[in-house]
Symmetry: C2
Subunit: 480 residues, 2 copies
């Protein structure tokens, strides 16, 4: 094809090396259980293995792939290992990886409808599907007043919710002059750190975020919320935003949406619901109760890149009134003007998030939903919850361990009765073993282990083995 | 391997379908010139071809791939076509697509060093390489006071610059109480729309962004900047931030960094330099003058996903003083605490941008630099500039067309002498033909065509053919 000198990879080479990379990934998953889950490298070891400057002349793909094995792999913590129980899952799957590969191949920019209509329309369509799949109110559909958009993370989605709420509360005056002071946001003291980060970014001021007390199950106390709002109003401040969490990061607590939503409705506050991991559970009818009260919410997000087998990044962000979001984030320079936008008949997703450019992310989500079907997604999510509940029952039956709180879904918070220092040493020892990876939090001022079941290939045998390893390591520590 | 019932794609199926997708992409590039560059679909056509609800049972991969051809492809605007001359390029390449594929396969979260050391260290390392490759001052390296981080887009990077500048200017008080009012930001009236968007997001207020006049070449006038700063100080306002552009979106104008930087230095303002597309040109020594004055900048960004053969998303954002950025964006909840972070010996990139989670983006950039070598990148960037300059010379020699401004690099702004309405119709006709895609802007209040050479596979013959089509279409319009 080419008439000119070229350094580009030839189409033949792309086919050959493409197969090599596909096989590399398949081989990686075949052997992933033989690798230590948490990387054992020390700071600086990866960099020390890399040349200090870039190559002047191009290198062969074989050489690059060899370095993946020799330099990169030892520095990887294996999030896709079935023995990964740390943080929240970031599960991936074959159809998702291949959907994402196609997205890279297309290399389109979906900033405007006109710059790739399929990129926008598939996204709108699949996000409408998910409203039904999760039992969310119809107002979040694009066919009603709302609509969904893919964002990179729940952090960014929550920031957009906060911005839209800020603009609504100030009559869009933040766009005109500096933001009014004394706006007050609310979340439970268990809400994700991204809410604090968002409040900082939006110029609200960290001191204007109220962290509301929680009940024994670590869920927000509506009475404490109502009281704080009253106090702030009395002090002449302007409450404007509440973030409720469906499945907190620490302990998976589920804030009582109906009561919180009722307060927001009465007070005229924007209610954002962050269901980053746990939203996916609602694909199963028996867990759909977590979304009870969603008809009172103004915005919502959950991450298929956590628990819905769709590789990062893929956060679904919904608003009940898309006009507010668009008015908050829209800027229209001449070089982006076009007939489709001016007709008003299309969605331009650049006005729904912070970046301008955007890749064709909907492909991977569409691939996942079609490959698994609703039935397949339900099966695996249900199975993860069963496995976590089984683990929790073992903890309960044990003489040495106890649950820190009753696990509602797939995250078990527990601890050895030996105290904080013992639990810290237990966790470090387990993670250093490479057999599994789990992380911690603090609940009721006590060091608490978190065991989250959600990686794609985690099965009964992995959970059983983890429990065995935990008991063995604890027994050894006890005897030391 | 699996003992349990499973809906997951088997490893064998992943290998088979992985090859199918690799081949699909290779075939796509083989035939891309036969496809109309700008999608011809009307609003709603993609959605009309999709089922109204998600499938209950999973579907075969063959069926999904068939829909890529039948439903998705007609709705794609082919950004990777060598006949794509619109907006800015978003070029991709074989090594980049395969690096991104590996990133999807690993599926790691690089939010903390400890969650995958290689993800962080490769990124730091490659971004240090690029400081040398682009002739940027050493202070932007991680080994000095600064450092680089990958962000999704220049919009997000510029927002982070704005936030860091805001916090520095207010003594980090935005984190404590609502932001002080009367902060003033500056950019030329040709700066990218993301600056206005960022000012809105950060709660600075749109009215507190001053759009400074430009000279005949559409570059910011330092005298006008200095005067505006003086006026604002006299009115009791607080100037804090200047965004200079190296290669504006409209016309590729290059703001005079040395003079602007000197003003910022004297006035104590944060200077951010947005070189989203054009920064890549500096890989060639003969274009490195665009970075003259960079020693006076506090932050800088450019997008390998525009012109450096690295598929979206990949923006490189640098700061001269990483402490300010980290202090602006850091929030540390218990569940993210870990020994490596507490040792202070590692970078945790979650504190360098808005999201918490992050994929292993550095892989694709590393693959590109290694595959091409500095020499290969220089060759293709240089070639794009040559082709654009050749196109410009044809415009200059033509009796019917004229340049709107002298093109510094790879973007040619030109127009037919027939006036705004004629140029609009000419552009619409060309884009409807499917043979090429170009977009417009307004310069000196006149409708202006933009012809940007930067797609990976664009060669002399594509540029020559485009010029032929443009002349033919104009001649036909003239005769109507």
């Amino acid at each position: 094809m080419s008439e000119e000198k070229s350094y580009h990879m030839t189409p033949e080479a792309f086919r050959r090396y493409g197969r090599a990379v596909v096989d590399w990934i398949a081989d990686y998953y075949d052997r992933i259980e033989s690798l230590p889950v948490l990387s054992r490298l020390k700071p600086g070891q990866v960099r020390a293995a890399l040349p200090s400057g870039p190559p002047v002349k191009g290198e062969s793909f074989e050489k690059i792939l060899k370095d993946i094995d020799e330099v990169i792999l030892p520095g990887v913590t294996h999030w896709q290992s079935p023995n990964f129980f740390a943080y929240f899952p970031a599960n991936a799957s074959g159809p998702s990886i291949l959907g994402d590969l196609l997205s890279s191949g297309f290399g389109v920019q979906g900033m405007l409808w006109t710059t790739s209509p399929a990129c926008t329309e598939l996204e709108t369509h699949v996000l409408d599907w998910l409203v039904d799949m999760l039992g969310l109110p119809a107002k979040f559909k694009s066919s009603e007043t709302g609509g969904g958009v893919l964002q990179d993370t729940a952090s960014s989605a929550s920031l957009c919710a906060l911005l839209a709420a800020r603009e609504r509360a100030t009559g869009y005056q933040c766009n005109e002059k500096g933001c009014v002071e004394r706006l007050i946001a609310y979340a439970s003291n268990q809400a994700h750190s991204s809410i604090e980060k968002g409040v900082k970014i939006a110029g609200i001021g960290r001191k204007n975020l109220r962290l509301i007390d929680v009940d024994d199950g670590f869920a927000m106390r509506p009475d404490a919320l109502a009281q704080q709002i009253r106090q702030d109003r009395e002090a002449g401040r302007t409450p404007f935003f509440v973030c409720a969490t469906v499945g907190t990061t620490s302990s998976n607590a589920i804030d009582p949406l109906p009561a919180i939503g009722e307060i927001c409705r009465k007070e005229g506050l924007w209610l954002h619901v962050d269901a980053a991991m746990s939203g996916t559970a609602a694909v199963c009818p028996e867990f759909r109760h977590i979304h009870e009260g969603m008809e009172l919410a103004n915005s919502y997000c959950f991450n298929p890149h956590k628990w819905m087998f769709t590789n990062f990044d893929c956060d679904c962000f919904y608003v009940a009134d898309r006009k507010v979001l668009i008015q908050t984030l829209s800027v229209l320079p001449e070089y982006l003007r076009n007939k489709a936008t001016e007709s008003g008949a299309v969605i331009d997703y650049r006005d729904w998030h912070i970046p301008l450019g955007r890749r064709f992310r909907a492909l991977k989500l569409w691939f996942v939903i079609r490959h698994y079907g609703v039935e397949g997604l339900q099966y695996h999510v249900r199975r993860h919850v069963e496995l976590a509940q089984e683990f929790a029952s073992w903890v309960e039956e044990s003489d040495h361990f106890e649950l820190a709180t009753k696990p509602p879904l797939n995250l078990v918070c527990f601890r050895h009765q030996g105290g904080d220092e013992f639990n810290k040493r237990l966790m470090d020892r387990l993670n250093r073993s490479g057999d599994l990876y789990l992380t911690h939090t603090t609940l009721s001022n006590r060091f608490t282990l978190r065991f989250c079941v959600g990686q794609t290939n985690t099965e009964a045998r992995h959970v059983a083995q983890a429990w065995r390893r935990i008991r063995e390591a604890a027994a050894k520590l006890e005897s030391e």
